[in-house]
Assembly symmetry: C2
Homo-oligomer: 192 residues x 2
């Protein structure tokens, strides 16, 4: 009963995600959100409670969609290293092709808020955990297939790959061209 919402909160969160992604948390104003979501301030606060709550929702959404995308990307057929290289390449290309150079929302959030915003930090940590796990699983698969030396520590390599992606997405925020990221990809694949 009662009047139903005139807008789709899921769509609104998606749009909010884009705004936060482009402008950062502190850099996003209520007016920015009102404009981007196409709803009134009343609806905004009535539905989401606060800027911070909306940010958390957007960050959660981001984490889920990105983690799923990465896992899918790594799960494609083919030799392990090729899959890895393909995934890293695609990431770098997408980041550099983005006209706004948004990079990664989780990375940006970690840098902007750090532990000062513990709930955000926790969401970021979870995303890091998932990503690391996905890489580790890939490495273990490669080891079983004999493509990667079995005596190397898959967990450590998973951490290294996560760290590599984080670094690349950060650098993509300011990079002039693809060269440096290409070198990173070459070196990390070469090191396996």
């Amino acid at each position: 009963m009662g009047r139903p919402k005139q807008f789709d909160p899921d769509v609104a969160v998606d749009r909010a995600m884009d705004v936060f992604w482009r402008k950062g948390y502190a850099g996003t104003t209520p007016q920015d959100l009102v404009d981007a979501l196409g709803i009134g301030k009343g609806s905004l606060y009535n539905t989401f409670g606060s800027k911070h709550a909306l940010f958390e929702a957007a960050l959660s959404r981001y984490r889920d969609s990105q983690a799923a995308a990465l896992i899918e990307l790594l799960g494609e057929p083919g030799p392990t290293k090729d899959r890895l290289r393909g995934a890293l390449r695609l990431l770098a290309e997408m980041d550099l092709a983005d006209p706004d150079r948004r990079g990664c929302l989780a990375v940006n959030t970690a840098a902007e808020l750090g532990r000062a915003d513990e709930s955000a930090a926790q969401l970021v940590r979870r995303m890091l955990d998932r990503t690391e796990d996905a890489f580790r699983a890939l490495i273990e698969e490669g080891q079983r297939a004999g493509e990667i030396a079995a005596d190397r520590d898959a967990h450590a390599i998973g951490s290294l790959l996560l760290n590599t992606v984080v670094g690349m997405r950060l650098i993509a925020r300011v990079a002039d061209g693809p060269e440096r990221l290409d070198r990173v990809i070459d070196a990390v694949i070469d090191s396996l």
Copy 2:
């Protein structure tokens, strides 16, 4: 002639650097700066012109001091890999021991402002360039000394090490403990 300044602008820039480092650019208010620098608003704007100009000065200062510190750190005596491991360890320890978990100002700035602030992006890029160069020089030294395989691309490894440091300092902003960073260090040294 005229009344001399009652404060040392160099000291003021250092203090401003710390504030921006802790709170980010957008998160720093004029009041924060006035409080931290111990001068009036008038002096602040009279001396530095704007928040943004002061930020640029602080970021430049940071770049110079950090680049020098890293180059010195990598220049210590001993085997190449040991020096590298030592430098990475020290970085990780310092980042995690910092009660504010400030991470790296350049990394944070890249993430927060990206290319939206081109002058800041340029300062960050220069710092990345210098750091990469320092790592490359170290690798080349290691290759000459026969400690690192000569057939590997020193430039690419330099990029990888830069990228590794960037990733680590980002992750240090939100990390729970040292484990993940330790794994990254192990894996990257192991991969040389």
